[in-house]
Symmetry: C2
Subunit: 323 residues, 2 copies
């Protein structure tokens, strides 16, 4: 990841300048304040990096990918603002959320501003096809979030539904970033499909790693507490797998802690024991590795250059946290 | 308005079909439920009508304006959903709001879905320039809402700031609808500017009529209670004008009722008396009439056909509520 960022450092500096420029508003100084709180809050900019890399791996020498990468980060930032309102979150990346520092209203409206600005920036990029891809990504993202809302504290959520949720809420923007980068670079149909599939599989892997680490990780590696998903009654893959194999007592445990949200001290440790007993954490780890494998395989049809190697390394790095 | 709607009935039927089609979601049945609650809630569809009329007044015979009109209504609907969350509203057009019937989370996320879908539908319309206009409208809309948030209960809001707020929150989508309709129809630069100015002035007039009637209107004409703006501590043009001329006692009255939000029985009647004493309601009415006059004047450069007459009639009808 560091090497990929280093390789694309010049591009990324210009993307950051575009982000700072387009978050300005003559009308309302609160917009750049809140946006800066998020975009300068220590995020890794993985989505814009993927967009730049997708264009550059195909040898793209133009500049349209820069605005597109800024666009992707704007959509991501808008989503974070709205997510934190929806989840009533108080912290993100170890800092207070915008809805806590300002208020829910500001987070909703600044998110709307960033969505609208992002489409304006896409118009600058000049590719109707890239616009179509990003509009579809943003639509899938909202659908994924809405589907997730219906799955909250809902132990009837099955694995297929869960995969649809994370394909929307996480993978859609990854694949939108890589596919639109490919389109800007004038990709062949095969290259375009490969970069879309790469982004999709990488996004799925990214989310499953996150789900795994939320139970199995060490605090330091994540910037959030172990057990957040459990505490929030989120039904993620580990819980879905364990619930499918639960005996009556375990079923009662999940009903009380997740469905009813009545948690007591010691419940997280018991949840971990149940997850381990059924191999649910190991299964989630395996699923993350499988998606990473699919992401790597998708790269095969791309030109065998340094950026392709860096994208493969990024994929390895992502799952190295669980392997 | 009825005649305009009648003249564009065939177009509008197809727009309604597009709206129903594009509010569907494989992923989340809650999306069409909530969207239907709003788009089938008895709104007058004035924004899509303006879009259709702008294209047709120039003799447009294609079909791209239909998707664009549906887009405009989607953006408007998304804004209503988010507005009701931001304002913590419980009723709109005499019915419970979506945030009351469902919850704030659903309103935020379904609004996001409609925003994203609206850009997807614009891509179908195939005009990059129309897309640019609508993205700018949506941006201005969010800026207007954010600026209005800063003006809430804030008696330091001056008239220039207030006009910027309503130009964003109301006029931007009117002018976006008329200008993008013009662009789709292949307008000359003069026709395009005229239709943009028409939409802008009509939107300004529309909002000022609303502000006037919120104090001076009869309940039946409005679908909302007289005095809602006062009760909500909204600083609208009547209050700005009266506050600028207030003596010490009146200043104290506005500080208590609007800035501090401490209202007692009889305050609305006293507010009305103060507004009338300074001619603030009459001044707002005059301002609405002036904007309507500008809207009518802008139509002069357009072809003198039936639709132009209907647009002029619509303008007259809008201010007939105050004249």
């Amino acid at each position: 990841m560091a090497e990929l960022a280093d390789h694309l450092r010049a591009d990324m500096a210009r993307v950051n300048a575009l982000i700072r420029q387009h978050m300005q508003s003559q009308a309302a100084p609160r917009i750049p304040e809140i946006t800066a709180h998020l975009v300068e809050g220590g995020g890794k900019r993985i989505r814009p990096l993927l967009n730049l890399a997708a264009a550059r791996v195909l040898g793209y020498q133009g500049e349209a990918h820069l605005g597109l990468a800024a666009t992707v980060e704007f959509i991501h930032t808008a989503t974070l603002l709205h997510d934190d309102v929806v989840d009533e979150s108080t912290h993100r990346r170890g800092r207070p959320t915008a809805n806590l520092l300002w208020d829910n209203k500001s987070s909703v409206l600044v998110g709307d501003f960033l969505f609208a600005r992002s489409f304006r920036m896409m118009v600058e990029a000049g590719s109707m096809e890239a616009l179509r891809i990003m509009a579809d990504s943003a639509t899938a993202l909202a659908e994924g979030e809405i589907l997730q809302m219906g799955a909250a504290q809902n132990l009837a959520t099955d694995e297929a539904t869960y995969l649809r949720i994370i394909r929307g809420k996480t993978a859609a923007l990854f694949s939108g970033a890589t596919e639109s980068g490919a389109v800007i670079a004038g990709a062949s149909a095969a290259q375009r499909a490969a970069l879309r599939d790469f982004g999709d599989a990488l996004g799925m892997s990214f989310q499953l790693v996150d789900d795994y680490l939320d139970y199995a990780g060490a605090d330091a590696a994540m910037g959030k507490q172990v057990g957040d998903d459990f505490a929030g009654g989120k039904v993620t893959l580990p819980v879905i797998r364990a619930y499918a194999q639960a005996d009556d007592a375990e079923r009662g445990f999940w009903q009380r802690t997740i469905a009813k949200g009545r948690q007591e001290p010691g419940d997280l440790a018991q949840a971990l024991a149940i997850l381990r007993r059924h191999g649910a954490l190991e299964g989630t780890r395996q699923a993350a590795m499988e998606w990473a494998g699919r992401a790597r395989d998708a790269l095969d049809v791309l030109p065998a250059n340094r950026l392709r190697r860096l994208l493969a390394d990024l994929t390895d790095m992502m799952v190295s946290r669980v392997s």
